[in-house]
């Protein structure tokens, strides 16, 4: 790269060797990532194959922990809850996409809408959870509104048939603005002359969307779907912790929250690790797609 003999007299303590210095500069990042993420992942996998109780020596038990999971009603409930959550994905993608297209096509006050819709996304899950705890209580604003409209009040968070639904709705409320921004960024890359041409051909609003806008943002739709799904699996802890604590019963316990509960019981790290590995397996496939999208973008 550079001719080292030229700069030799100016060489400093760390040297002007890009190879050596490059390695040195990347060490802090690499060390942190390896010590706190890569090694724990491997360690966790190892632990998941043992009956370690945190005290006596760990004994290798193979897939016994995983086999036990399939008989654990709480774990099964958490998986079912997760599947219900995942089934709502079309709403999580469709709603922000629809809003983004409308804003992009010049709905009056579009900039204001964008700012207001994104606003909940900057609030932490604890803040959102605490606020909705007040609003969704039996004597809260939401029920007051329903009663004013002639409906009867529902105990949204205290009833096991509505709690998961409420949790999902609150998380959607808190995050749809984030997806909206992703879609707006994608829409800004759609060439405007294509839209003009469609207009000249007399295509209506919905025709333009269906034939031009949506096909041209397909990569963004894919990206948003992957990122949202990852978020569903890993970003609900704070909200569950504050809003429902996993209950009533197990009705809002998702795998990520179950790991937290199990980790609190320090005598079963092997079992807790097995749940972690199941979650990791679910994520790995999704993340693989995400990384492919990201490394396509990073020009390295």
């Amino acid at each position: 790269m550079s001719d080292r003999s030229v700069s030799a007299p100016r060489r400093r303590l760390l040297g002007d060797d890009p190879g050596r210095l490059g390695l040195l500069f990347v060490v802090p990042a690499l060390a942190l990532v390896i010590v706190f993420r890569i090694v724990p992942l491997i360690w966790g996998f190892g632990t998941s194959l043992t009956d370690y109780d945190g005290m006596s020596a760990a004994r290798f038990v193979g897939i016994a922990n995983y086999a036990a999971l399939t008989r654990d009603p709480v774990f099964i409930d958490s998986i079912v809850n997760m599947l219900i959550l995942l089934a709502t994905l079309p709403v999580w993608i469709g709603l922000p996409m629809l809003l983004a297209i409308l804003i992009h096509q010049g709905v009056p006050g579009g900039k204001l809408f964008r700012a207001v819709y994104f606003f909940p996304a900057v609030l932490s899950s604890v803040i959102v959870g605490a606020i909705f705890n007040m609003l969704l209580r039996y004597d809260g604003s939401f029920n007051a509104m329903l009663k004013a409209l002639g409906f009867s009040a529902v105990d949204w968070l205290g009833n096991s048939s509505t709690a998961l639904f409420s949790l999902i709705a609150v998380q959607l409320w808190a995050t749809f603005g984030m997806s909206l921004l992703i879609f707006l960024a994608g829409l800004s890359t759609v060439p405007s002359d294509m839209l003009e041409a469609a207009k000249l051909d007399g295509a209506g609003l919905f025709g333009t969307w269906w034939h031009i806008v949506i096909p041209s943002i397909r990569p963004i739709i894919e990206f948003a779907a992957v990122v949202t799904t990852i978020g569903m699996l890993t970003s609900m802890f704070g909200l569950i912790y504050v809003l429902t604590a996993g209950g009533p019963g197990t009705s809002t316990t998702l795998p990520e929250f179950l790991i937290w509960l199990e980790q609190g019981r320090m005598n079963r790290p092997g079992y807790a690790s097995a749940i972690s590995m199941v979650l990791f397996a679910l994520m790995a496939g999704l993340a693989f797609i995400q990384i492919r999208i990201m490394s396509r973008n990073a020009s390295l």
């Binding site: 700069s7 100016r10 760390l14 890009p18 190879g19 210095l21 390695l23 040195l24 500069f25 990347v26 690499l30 942190l32 990532v33 706190f36 993420r37 890569i38 724990p40 966790g44 632990t47 809003l99 010049g106 709905v107 009056p108 819709y117 994104f118 909940p120 932490s124 899950s125 604890v126 803040i127 605490a130 606020i131 007040m134 004597d139 603005g177 984030m178 921004l181 992703i182 960024a185 207009k199 609003l205 990206f223 948003a224 802890f237 704070g238 912790y241 504050v242 795998p255 790991i259 980790q263 807790a272 590995m277 979650l279 994520m283 790995a284 995400q290 990384i291 973008n297 020009s299 390295l300």
Partner: protein, 277 residues
């Protein structure tokens, strides 16, 4: 053509109506919370939804001192600032090394960083906690700074690498010919040139650190960060809604202020993560 445009305009105006309702749903919870925080406990019980007729700041004072939010606030500020600064320095160094210096093995390192992106805290919760204990980092603010850095780092490194890779290479080579050492190039050229990316990352990471609850619950058990404090407050004061509301307002205020000031950078930061190149 004009007819189509008029029709489109009319359709868009009609659609704006439900959009206004949705916007109100985004604003109302915030309004309710601030309004509740300004009421006395008795005033709230008598009238939950009306405007605070006799606004008081007493709830804020009580939450701040009696509920120890001031201590938690300090913890959050110290840890967030520490983690964000560490994140910026470490990710700028790594981005420079990966994108510009291109040492042998850079590709492997970049892959390891990207792979670690798919390891969320929950997946490594048990061994991560044990690592923290082994390194004596539990119950220390420095420990929480290190934990945040480790977990929010991969995205930052990815973004800095992508940003530096797009700077013209001549910049780096010219500085070298002028006799600048590689460390000086980082300090005098890469760091200033990377300012837009660093500002975006600074704000995003501030949001992440300030808003986190899981890592903080695990690492700071004796003391608390503000978010853990608010979660606890919710548990303790289910009947004193105005006090809880005041705590919520205090905890959210710094982030809301940052959002209002840096809206543009936040939006562009998210856009960078989504589409590029």
């Amino acid at each position: 053509m004009a007819a189509v445009e008029i029709r489109q305009k009319r359709a868009l105006t009609l659609i704006a109506l439900p959009m206004v309702l949705l916007a109100l749903s985004c604003v109302y919870p915030v309004f309710f919370t601030i309004n509740a925080a300004l009421k006395t406990r008795k005033g709230f019980v008598l009238d939950r939804f009306g405007l605070a007729s006799d606004p008081t700041l007493a709830n804020f004072a009580q939450a701040w001192t009696q509920s120890r939010l001031s201590e938690y606030f300090t913890n959050s500020v110290v840890v967030t600032i520490g983690a964000v600064l560490t994140l910026l320095v470490v990710s700028s160094l790594a981005g420079y090394a990966l994108a510009v210096l291109r040492f042998r093995g850079a590709k492997i390192v970049f892959t390891i960083i990207l792979v670690s992106l798919m390891i969320p805290v929950q997946v490594v919760l048990v061994p991560f906690y044990r690592t923290m204990i082994a390194l004596d980092l539990v119950n220390s603010r420095a420990g929480l700074v290190i934990a945040y850095t480790a977990f929010f780092l991969p995205f930052s490194v990815y973004l800095m690498t992508a940003f530096y890779a797009r700077l013209p290479r001549e910049l780096f080579e010219a500085a070298q010919i002028d006799g600048a050492g590689l460390v000086q190039v980082w300090w005098h050229i890469m760091l200033p040139m990377g300012k837009p990316a660093l500002i975006t990352l600074g704000i995003l990471n501030t949001l992440y650190c300030w808003n986190d609850v899981l890592i903080s619950l695990l690492v700071l058990q004796d003391e608390r960060t503000l978010m853990v404090g608010i979660a606890a407050l919710r548990g303790e004061y289910t009947t004193n809604v105005p006090l809880l509301a005041a705590g919520i307002v205090l905890a959210a205020a710094p982030i809301v202020i940052i959002y209002v000031i840096f809206q543009r950078q936040i939006v562009s930061g998210i856009a960078v993560g989504a589409v590029k190149g």
